[in-house]
């Protein structure tokens, strides 16, 4: 019988392997065996969405999945200020958006959705203002498509094989005074489960179509999009929340040499295993703050009385020791879409004008003259966070065969200071280069999708379906491409010994993009950004 030996927290370090001697120290893979024996093998990710607990015992914060507001803004041509929101307009004479009546529905907006593991159903609310003077605002009238990035497309009717992911909004608003209404689109578990494993984090794209014809003169506008998980996490009373098995998990059958054990024997085994479980983590000594030596004043498992979050990430201290941050819940830090230039100056919005995004840079010359689109966001960055993951959708106006899309990022404390970015990388490239403005940058490739099946050609119209290849009647004029993931590396782990780990705090994330036409040596002034998503990446 060996003696108890501490398992240092430093084993959390992802790349650190265990020596054979270390592996022989303790027989602790009982952990999962005990869990299975006692509670079955139900996937814990589904049963326990990420959450945090308040000091007095627990709370569950049900965060939004998407919160996008379409505010008043300047018109792109500089002629004035648009009204609040974006128009749900009327079609040109003789046209219709009603796809059930031979028309072509209009893409109103698209947005990235980051669904945390455990999300089983989803509600999307479209906030709509309506003057109340032009008849009732009937739903269905908006349709949403939820799909993986590879399926992205431009028209509702282009997606016949994805009909299962299309739902129309519910309800009808009767005539009345001016209102802001919320149309809800709901995706149930069965529907969402078709879009990947619900136990895992998923990235999906939401595309919202207008498929009704608003009466002439109707002032109907989309003010915002809002997405939440449909079901709140289970509520548990305080006295049920601590040190008790999960009620919904059942013991599995434990087979002995003569078959299944009797309930009484199973109960006995379960009780013993419970004791083992508590013992394993409750009596095993803790680890000193240096992450290496044993601290017998602490136990490996401790009852939590104070506030904390799931799940913790080990963070190196300045002196080389470790502490656990426990701060990162993986949910979108930034999710924004840019439905600009939607025909503000006319009530006759034709389909081809529907969705263009925002220009990356006004210059089409060989230099950008310092005129970038710079996006700035306030984001909370805990100390334990090692990276951010960026993804974006962009439209390339050029048909050049060789292009280079560059993403640039800088992340500094709101209160000031230098950037905590140490590098950027994609699945194909890695860079620690810094430009003259202090932005790290890396070249980014697009993913293939239905409209752009030739991603090897890069960000270019040349990657898109040719007219002869497009389905009949389909206009892919403004269809966009979606990037591969871009990891923005932070100061954990440090690149240089002189690098200081970043402190927890509110930061300003600044992003820039530029699309260079390499053959011509000039920038693509027609390039536009359609949406972007930033989520926490790895812990340190």
């Amino acid at each position: 019988m060996s003696s108890i030996t501490a398992i240092p927290d430093s084993y959390l370090e992802p790349l650190r392997g265990l020596s054979a001697a270390e592996k022989k120290v303790l027989f602790l893979d009982n952990d999962e065996g005990i869990r299975d024996l006692i509670y079955g093998s139900r996937a814990i990710e589904e049963a326990a969405p990420p959450h945090d607990h308040a000091e007095n015992g627990g709370e569950v914060l049900a965060y939004h999945i998407l919160s996008v507001s379409f505010p008043r803004r300047k018109l792109e041509d500089g002629t004035g200020t648009a009204a609040l929101g974006i128009p749900l307009g009327t079609p040109q004479t003789g046209e219709t958006f009603d796809s059930s009546n031979g028309g072509t529905s209009k893409l109103v907006a698209s947005a990235p959705l980051f669904l945390p593991g455990g999300t089983r159903n989803l509600y999307v609310f479209a906030l709509i203002s309506w003057d109340g003077n032009s008849g009732g605002l009937d739903f269905p009238g908006l349709a949403g498509i939820l799909s993986p990035y590879a399926w992205t497309n431009y028209k509702e009717e282009d997606s016949p094989s994805y009909d299962l992911e299309v739902w129309s909004s519910e309800g009808t608003i009767s005539t009345g005074a001016a209102v802001v209404a919320a149309a809800r689109l709901a995706w149930t578990a069965n529907q969402l489960d078709r879009l990947g494993d619900p136990a895992l984090d998923r990235e999906l794209e939401l595309r919202l179509f207008q498929n009704f014809d608003a009466p002439s003169g109707a002032a109907r506008r989309l003010l915002g999009l809002f997405a939440v998980a449909g079901a709140s996490p289970a509520t548990r009373a305080a006295d049920q929340n601590r040190d008790k098995p999960r009620a919904e998990l059942q013991p599995v059958d434990i087979l002995g040499s003569t078959g299944a054990l009797t309930p009484s024997v199973t109960s006995t085994i379960r009780r013993q295993m419970n004791q083992h479980a508590a013992a394993a983590l409750g009596l095993a000594p803790g680890v000193a703050s240096n992450g290496e030596s044993v601290d017998r004043r602490r136990t490996f498992r401790q009852i939590i009385e104070r506030g904390h979050q799931h799940q913790g990430i080990l963070v190196p201290e300045d002196d080389g020791s470790f502490s656990c941050d426990g701060a990162v819940i993986r949910r979108a830090l930034v999710a924004q879409c840019f439905p600009r230039n939607l025909g503000e100056n006319t009530s006759h919005v034709v389909d081809g004008d529907a969705y263009r995004g925002i220009r990356l840079h006004p210059s089409g010359g060989a230099t950008l003259d310092g005129k970038y689109l710079t996006l700035r966001y306030r984001v909370p960055i805990p100390r334990g966070l090692g990276s951010l993951v960026l993804r974006f959708a962009a439209y390339a106006g050029t048909s050049d065969q060789r292009t280079a899309m560059t993403a640039r990022a800088k992340l500094s404390l709101i209160s000031g200071g230098s950037s905590i970015v140490t590098g950027m990388r994609t699945p194909r490239r890695s860079s620690h280069a810094v430009d003259a403005s202090g932005f790290h940058y890396v070249e980014v490739s697009p993913l293939p999708n239905d409209a752009y099946p030739r991603p090897e050609r890069g960000w270019t119209q040349a990657a898109k379906l040719q007219a002869a290849e497009a389905p009949e009647g389909v206009d892919l004029t403004w269809a966009y491409q979606i990037s591969e993931p871009v990891e923005i590396l932070l100061t954990h782990p440090a690149v240089k010994s002189t690098d200081d780990p970043h402190p927890t705090g509110d930061y300003e994330l600044a992003l820039r993009f530029d699309l260079l036409r390499q053959d011509a040596g000039v920038y693509d002034e027609a390039a536009r950004l359609n949406w972007l998503l930033v989520v926490p990446g790895r812990g340190w």
């Binding site: 379409f70 803004r73 799940q311």
Partner: protein, 256 residues
């Protein structure tokens, strides 16, 4: 039957499912937890500890490294709360469309002297804790932050920018937004608190107690779906101020 045979007779631990994202290049999922916290039992029997601690050899060791990582998750659960970041992330907001760095073309230019709606911002607001205790007992609320600046060069500095916000419930499809939740807020930002035209300053708004007048049904929700209607005005005719961003944060506990 000893513990060793119990664990391994005819039973190999299935590989732990490690989350993957559908597209290449993403890091592992961080948004799950181990179930061990729920599995820990208070009936601690020290006498059984010896049954657990066994020297191991051979194939049983194959998965030990992963198991230790799992235990590390548990250790994370037991984490040092000195940096506990409760309710750290914001619950909504609005960012001005863009900044082209060419003289402040973007942002929203406030010129009206009467309150004008600028944005309707959807918010997922926590109103209640896990145990059914009203939000006010748990220090819930929302703190708005505004990023403002003087207007583009060529405009006179403004005197005072006033921002007003009202939270209402988002209802489903059949009607307008629901009743007001909590207090309306109004913030006056004098020009001295704003940055120059090409840099932007953050101004912290008042803390809003949403539960204060949330109504009886509010405490039955873990969270409420709200829409914040934000309106703005300048005090003096001819003044112009630029509003860049609204960030709705939650009160947080700093390091313990």
């Amino acid at each position: 039957m000893d513990a060793r045979s119990l664990f391994f007779r005819g039973r190999r631990r299935a590989p732990r499912r490690r989350p993957e994202l559908p597209l290449e290049g993403f890091p592992p999922n961080l948004a799950h937890e181990t179930a061990f916290y729920g599995a820990a039992i208070p009936e601690l029997a020290q006498k059984n500890l010896s049954a657990l601690v066994l020297a191991t050899t051979g194939e049983e060791l194959d998965d030990l490294e992963q198991t230790l990582t799992d235990l590390g998750d548990v250790a994370g659960h037991r984490h040092d709360t000195r940096r506990g970041l409760l309710r750290w992330q914001g619950v909504g907001g609005w960012t001005a469309p863009a900044d082209l760095d060419d003289g402040g073309r973007e942002g929203y230019l406030v010129t009206d002297t009467s309150l004008t709606d600028v944005a309707v911002i959807p918010v997922r607001a926590p109103l209640r804790n896990d145990y059914g205790v009203a939000a006010s007992s748990f220090d819930f609320g929302i703190i708005p932050f505004f990023r403002v600046s003087n207007p583009a060069p060529g405009y006179a500095t403004y005197t005072t920018l006033t921002l007003k916000g009202v939270f209402k419930r988002i209802t489903n499809g059949s009607a307008a937004l629901g009743a007001q939740v909590g207090d309306a807020f109004e913030v006056s930002i004098p020009a001295k608190d704003a940055a120059s035209a090409l840099s932007r300053a953050w101004v912290r708004g008042p803390r809003l107690d949403l539960a204060k007048s949330a109504g009886a049904d509010a405490v039955n929700d873990a969270a409420a779906n709200l829409a914040l209607t934000l309106s703005a005005r300048v005090t003096t005719a001819g003044d112009k101020a630029t509003l860049w961003e609204v960030y709705l944060g939650l009160p947080r506990r700093e390091a313990y």
